[in-house]
């Protein structure tokens, strides 16, 4: 079934997107391969956090440089993504360690009962990986949108000041915020419907302290926070770099 869906996607991409569509399909394949390599490295024993950071750099590079060519817009977006990642990682590290959301939940315990629990793998680092990988996609998307739009505006309005360019970036970002919060909400619901159906009538005390709810909420809201702070960061980086390049 996956194969049929993939073929349909490829045909649609080719028909509607032509060359660009094919590149999109290839970028999906490359990114998936990076994901697989990340898993192999973590399984081999490498520190999951290091693997995640390196993997995210790779994913960003594929999505920006392969898909969109190497130019000033993509280079700016790349820098913005890296800065945002570095800012977020400390926050995510501390929060995940304190809230004890690592490993599996009681609801999952049945499914893994046939396996041994002795895997010598730091599950806290794994859940941090999950959170970071979940937000990398939307951060890249917003960074390139702002960087691209600001580039167009900059080219068409040579007498805009750096501050005004920054403000334009923020305005564009604010429009995106609305759709982003709703996209996150829908993704959350899509993945977590079962939890709500199951726990609809349960004791409130248990549900709001549960590992399941806590880890999902932390994942989704860290994603949200990441997509929000990339807006001022990429506006700032874009406006600074475009002005430096123009020699002003």
């Amino acid at each position: 079934m996956i194969f049929t869906l993939a073929v349909i996607l490829f045909i649609l991409l080719l028909w509607i997107g032509k060359g660009r569509g094919v590149k999109t399909f290839l970028s999906l394949c490359f990114n998936f391969m990076i994901f697989a390599v990340m898993i192999l490295c973590m399984n081999f024993g490498m520190n999951p956090l290091v693997v995640t950071l390196l993997g995210c750099i790779g994913i960003t590079a594929v999505t920006l440089f392969f898909l969109n060519d190497i130019n000033m817009k993509t280079k700016t977006a790349f820098i913005s993504v890296l800065i945002t990642l570095l800012l977020l990682i400390t926050f995510i590290l501390i929060l995940s360690n304190k809230s004890k959301i690592q490993g599996f939940t009681n609801e999952d315990a049945d499914e893994i009962s046939i396996f041994s629990l002795n895997i010598h793998l730091n599950m806290i680092d794994v859940i941090i990986s999950v959170i970071i990988m979940g937000l990398i996609g939307s951060i890249i998307d917003i960074a390139i949108s702002i960087s691209s739009a600001l580039h167009e505006i900059f080219l068409n309005n040579k007498d805009l000041s750096k501050n005004e360019l920054f403000k334009s970036g923020m305005n564009i970002g604010r429009d995106i915020i609305g759709t982003m919060t709703n996209t996150l909400f829908f993704a959350f619901i899509a993945g977590f419907m079962g939890f709500f159906i199951w726990h609809f009538n349960t004791n409130m005390e248990n549900v709001i302290n549960s590992k399941a709810l806590c880890s999902q909420l932390i994942r989704i809201f860290c994603s949200g926070i990441g997509t929000i702070i990339i807006i001022p960061i990429s506006s700032f980086v874009s406006s600074t770099i475009y002005y430096l390049k123009a020699g002003r």
């Binding site: 079934m1 996956i2 049929t4 869906l5 649609l12 991409l13 509607i16 997107g17 660009r20 970028s27 999906l28 994901f35 898993i39 192999l40 399984n43 999505t63 969109n68 304190k98 004890k100 396996f115 629990l117 002795n118 895997i119 599950m123 794994v126 990986s129 999950v130 990988m133 979940g134 990398i136 890249i140 998307d141 390139i144 691209s148 609305g178 759709t179 982003m180 919060t181 709703n182 996150l184 909400f185 829908f186 993704a187 899509a190 993945g191 939890f195 159906i197 199951w198 009538n201 709001i208 302290n209 590992k211 806590c214 909420l217 932390i218 994942r219 809201f221 949200g224 929000i228 702070i229």
Partner: protein
């Protein structure tokens, strides 16, 4: 100075919000009295490595014994100092890893030889949930300002709508039908709240709904062919759901909706901007510019979907691989459902591009027709 003057109202309101937030977080960190179950706060943890246990492929797991000193924070025994024994592993797959400062839900039980033993039921996490939600809201309002606040309002509406759906589902309504109605309502409400009622929002709503229907039809046809090959047993919480097929299908619809709306808004906004900056552009020129914009976003959006869905499977894949399962098998097992979601969502995105382009040209530019 001028900056502070101009934004006085915002700074004052925001400062009040921050103070309120600190209050709320403080409250949830200390709300022991509101709980029926006994809670103890950990003051000291002493740890000692006890043993190493191998699994079936030779990986050695290290275990530690934790000697925990804690203070009971509520109930009849408030203030009592207690000692709890806990065992944890290096990995922490299912066990509890206790550290100083944690709040624990505990129960007292009498073991066989009449000795009293203390069991840790779970860790109190409500303050972390409240913390992350508040940080999210504060960041959203700080950077989004009024638009950020509006998106919070639309989020609140969507949450209420979702609760109503859950309630109706529990009363017996068909979930698929519920979610189709929900998709319609989610779309209309979110878009009207963020864009207002104007040509732009109507064009976005129409494009979203049409793209959703088209991509769902495609998915439906494929589903019908392969219905018995989808491995539903990997769905989370499957044991509680009897009509899991519909629930899964609904989740695919809802998941795709967000991405489709995003694309529809981007295209409509861009076309609208292009027209307002240069009303003399012809339909052909608009079509060409529109195509350029859409090419850029199509690529990144599909990748966003891919990673949002597959990252959640990382723990289970690694876990089974450390038990000897080969990578290809683990991926085939645990990414099956997520890939269906990601691919269907991407199909929706690709479909929504020409649909949004044609519809926004139709609504926003005079003289354009399909």
């Amino acid at each position: 100075m001028q900056f502070i003057h101009k934004n006085k109202l915002f700074i004052i309101t925001y400062a009040i919000l921050v103070l309120l937030s600190i209050g709320v977080i403080y409250f949830f960190s200390n709300n022991y009295a509101y709980y029926k179950k006994t809670i103890a706060k950990v003051t000291k943890v002493e740890e000692k490595q006890t043993k190493t246990v191998p699994n079936n492929i030779g990986i050695q797991e290290t275990y530690y014994a934790q000697s925990i000193t804690a203070v009971i924070k509520n109930g009849a025994q408030k203030g009592l100092l207690i000692n709890i024994e806990n065992e944890r592993s290096f990995s922490g797959v299912l066990d509890k890893q206790i550290s100083t400062g944690d709040d624990l839900f505990i129960t007292f039980i009498k073991s066989k030889d009449n000795k009293e033993k203390i069991i840790i039921e779970d860790i109190k996490r409500d303050k972390y949930i409240v913390f992350i939600v508040i940080i999210f809201m504060l960041t959203l309002i700080l950077i989004g300002k009024r638009k950020g606040l509006l998106s919070l309002v639309s989020l609140a509406f969507n949450i209420i709508l979702f609760s109503v759906i859950l309630y109706l589902y529990k009363r017996g309504m068909n979930i698929l039908l519920l979610f189709m109605i929900a998709a319609l309502l989610f779309t209309v409400i979110s878009l009207i709240l963020t864009l207002g009622i104007n040509k732009k929002s109507i064009s976005v709503i129409t494009s979203t709904l049409i793209s959703l229907i088209v991509s769902m039809l495609i998915a439906c046809i494929v589903f019908l062919f392969y219905a018995n090959k989808i491995e539903y047993e990997h769905m989370e919480f499957i044991s509680a759901i009897y009509d899991y097929q519909s629930v899964f299908y609904s989740s695919v619809i809802i998941g795709g909706l967000g991405a489709i709306m995003d694309i529809a808004i981007t295209i409509s906004s861009s076309i609208s901007e292009l027209i307002s900056n240069n009303p003399l552009l012809t339909v052909e020129e608009l079509k060409r510019s529109g195509k350029h914009i859409t090419m850029d976003i199509m690529g990144t959006m599909s990748n966003v979907l891919l990673f949002t869905y597959i990252c959640g499977s990382l723990p289970i894949i690694l876990f089974t691989m450390r038990n000897g399962m080969p990578l290809t098998m683990a991926i085939k097992y645990y990414l099956n459902l997520e890939m269906i979601r990601a691919l269907t969502g991407s199909i929706g995105i690709v479909v929504s591009i020409p649909v949004s382009l044609k519809i926004s040209l139709l609504f926003l530019k005079r003289g354009a027709d399909i």
